[in-house]
Amino acid sequence: MKEKINRLRNKDLISIQDLTVKEIELILDTAKAFKEISDRAIKKVPVLRGKTIVNLYYEPSTRTRISFELAAKRLSADLVNVTAKTSSAVKGESLKDTIKTLEAMQASMVIIRHSEPGVPTLISQWVDFSIINAGDGSHAHPTQALIDMFTVREKRPVFKDLKIVIVGDILHSRVARSNIQGFTKLGAKVVLCGPPTLIPKYVEQLGVLVTYDLEEAIESADVVMLLRVQFERQKANYFPSIREYSKYFGLDIDRLNNHRDILIMHPGPVNRDVEVKSEVAESSSSLINEQVTNGIAIRMAVLYLLAQRSKKV
């Protein structure tokens, strides 16, 4: 019998790296129970009643912000959305002052998104309440990786030797980093594919394989996860044009034809016809919408579990 745990060790969720395999499984199992709540007519349980959650965004986000908001509301917490501007180190309100202000207002938890890597780590040292990382620069996006693991697990329950291919701008992707950590922890094989300019030089030290050839990458793959290509990257000459990027790394039906059972994922928002053709994004093997649905369940699980262990809430 596998031993199970029922609590998380840390007060914060900052990176998948900080979680043990058992903690990941606990979150996924908890999310499974919460997913069922979202299918009910009354999608609400009172477990976080009286808790104040701050959804703090230093970078624009629609999906993640709404997903966390719905998750908190379905658990009956009070949630406030705050959008803030990154200040320079000396001008404007400093990060520390903002966080200390939220502490003085007796927030129970802060969900934070920031364009600078390390911000959740930094602020977690300043306060006693839980910090949940909703994406910090290119560093980590742990709830997205948990969603992706949950979504894959629903279709392929055994992770050992599963081949997960991540295609695109690995260099700038927090989703890729968190998924590399998560899937390798659970025993899957991770293969990265993209132009060499967008694959970090030292990434193989994380226990992944790298190929610049999409055909080779998807051969015998179980899951192909496509990352959004930012148009700015073309301006910085990471590749010559979107057209050429799409030619080598865009997933279309022809490339998929021999591999019909491959599951297609994308953390969104999708650039149709750039990293993925519409017919692939909308095909029966696409899990893109399920990822969004599962997002709420995962975030309910994370909020619930952190509230359980946190002293102050």
Partner: protein, 429 residues
């Protein structure tokens, strides 16, 4: 006699001297070295202690004028005195920039009035450090600048750099180069490596430094102007410098204590006191640097003392200022990490902190001999202590070494025949 230092173990690399002697000081000069007992107004018992020429740091940032909230000539020289440094050179990136004679004179006069140690400015290579037009190099040198550098704002235009070196060589001072190709480092904040990959922080590749080290070597050979490479941080740079030295070029270099003690792994918790340029590199680079010290490829140890305010460091990693302070920890780090752990001789490390830097910037210091300036550092090799940033006399506290246990510290610092620091206390003038 003013001061009599009794029974200390004198280590004077210039004369390759290592023996127990008495030293007498009169009128700011060394007046006696020998075994006799001589009466003096002040006797310093150096029994069991090391006596060396006063340490010289050719790479500091004093922030005055312009950012006196971070450091002043007064507080920076206090930190120097506490750290055993009797002479420091300050970089020109102040506000305004030290790019003309008046500013050089200001620094020297202010330091004479308020400073605890000898201060010599490094003049800017280009006006406002903008990399466009040469500054009035000759006048700055005439008024006391000992070297020329745009330091952290490297001269990217190779044509201008060549002209700068060609022009400067007639004044017989070195051009100091902070080797960084800014097009290769771009917005990078840490070493490009496994740590930058994991943390998602923008990397600064080793190539950013090495491309410029290679350029400076080529221009050094081409112009015959002495060049000094600041804060070498990569294995590749060490290899390039080794080859250049084998060719006999007028090229010297320095390393900082943080580049031989810390690796990129120190960044893993996003501590902004691990953010500096060049960035902390890999274990392999650190080993290469220590080996280069052992082989004599590295000429000097310099601090790159770079004070920053709490607000400039207590913030997002990407936004935090580059740089850490080093004057108060340099010697203990050298003694602990190089002498104690690596078995490098005291004679060698003291040389890298005294006569070698003096030779590079052509000053008659770093040598204990009768008639020379009485700049002396007395060191207690056995003193163990925990680094405590709250005890720093520098105005800034941005050090990654807080809490480190180190062995070996300054017992006393004597500048121009006056004790400025002794047994933990600054001595008022």
């Amino acid at each position: 006699m003013d001061i009599f230092i009794k029974s200390g173990r004198l280590i004077n690399p210039k004369s390759n001297c290592d023996k127990i002697v008495n030293i007498g000081i009169k009128d700011g000069k060394i007046s006696y070295i020998g075994n006799d007992d001589i009466a003096a107004s002040e006797i310093v018992d150096a029994n069991g202690l090391i006596v060396t020429p006063g340490l010289i740091d050719i790479h500091t940032h004093l922030r005055e004028p312009g950012r006196e909230d971070k450091e002043t000539i007064k507080t920076g020289t206090m930190a120097a005195a506490k750290g055993g440094f009797t002479t420091i050179l300050c970089m020109p990136n102040t506000f305004p920039v030290i790019d003309h004679g008046t500013l050089v004179e200001f620094i020297i006069l202010k330091a004479r009035r308020e400073g605890l140690v000898n201060v010599f400015p490094i003049g800017a290579a280009t006006r406002r450090l903008e990399g466009n037009e040469l500054a009035e190099i000759g006048e700055m040198i005439e008024l006391g600048a000992l070297a020329i550098s745009d330091d952290g704002a490297p001269v990217m235009n190779s044509g201008l750099m060549r002209r700068l070196m060609n022009y400067t060589k007639m004044f017989k001072v070195p051009v100091i180069s902070h080797c960084e190709d800014v097009m290769l480092s771009l917005d990078g904040v840490v070493n490009e490596g496994i740590v930058s990959t994991v943390l998602g922080l923008q990397g600064i590749p080793a190539a950013s430094e090495e491309v410029m080290v290679a350029r400076e070597i080529i221009l050094c050979e081409d112009t015959d102007c002495p060049i000094h490479i600041a804060h070498v941080s990569t294995k590749g740079s060490v290899e390039l410098i080794k080859r250049a030295k084998e060719k006999g070029l007028k090229l010297t270099c320095e390393v900082t204590p943080h580049h031989f003690t810390l690796t990129e792994e120190a960044v893993l918790n996003f501590d902004t006191n691990t953010k500096m340029k060049p960035p902390l590199r890999t274990k392999e680079d650190v080993i290469a640097i220590k080996n280069a010290i052992k082989e004599g490829i590295i000429d000097v140890i310099a601090t790159d003392h770079a004070p920053h305010s709490q607000a400039e460091k207590e913030c997002e990693y990407g936004i935090a200022s580059f740089g850490i302070i080093g004057l108060e920890t340099a010697l203990p780090l050298v003694l602990t990490e190089l002498v104690e752990k690596e078995g490098i001789s005291l004679m060698q490390v003291i040389s890298m902190l005294t006569n070698k830097p003096a030779e590079i910037v052509n000053i008659d210091k770093g040598n204990i001999e009768v008639g020379k300036d009485a700049d002396i550092t007395i060191i207690d090799l056995n003193k163990e202590f925990l680094v405590d940033i709250n005890k720093f006399v520098s105005k800034s506290k941005n050090s990654p070494f807080n809490g480190w246990k180190l062995k070996g510290d300054v017992f006393a610092t004597i500048v121009n025949g006056k004790i400025v620091f002794k047994e933990g206390d600054m001595i008022k003038r």
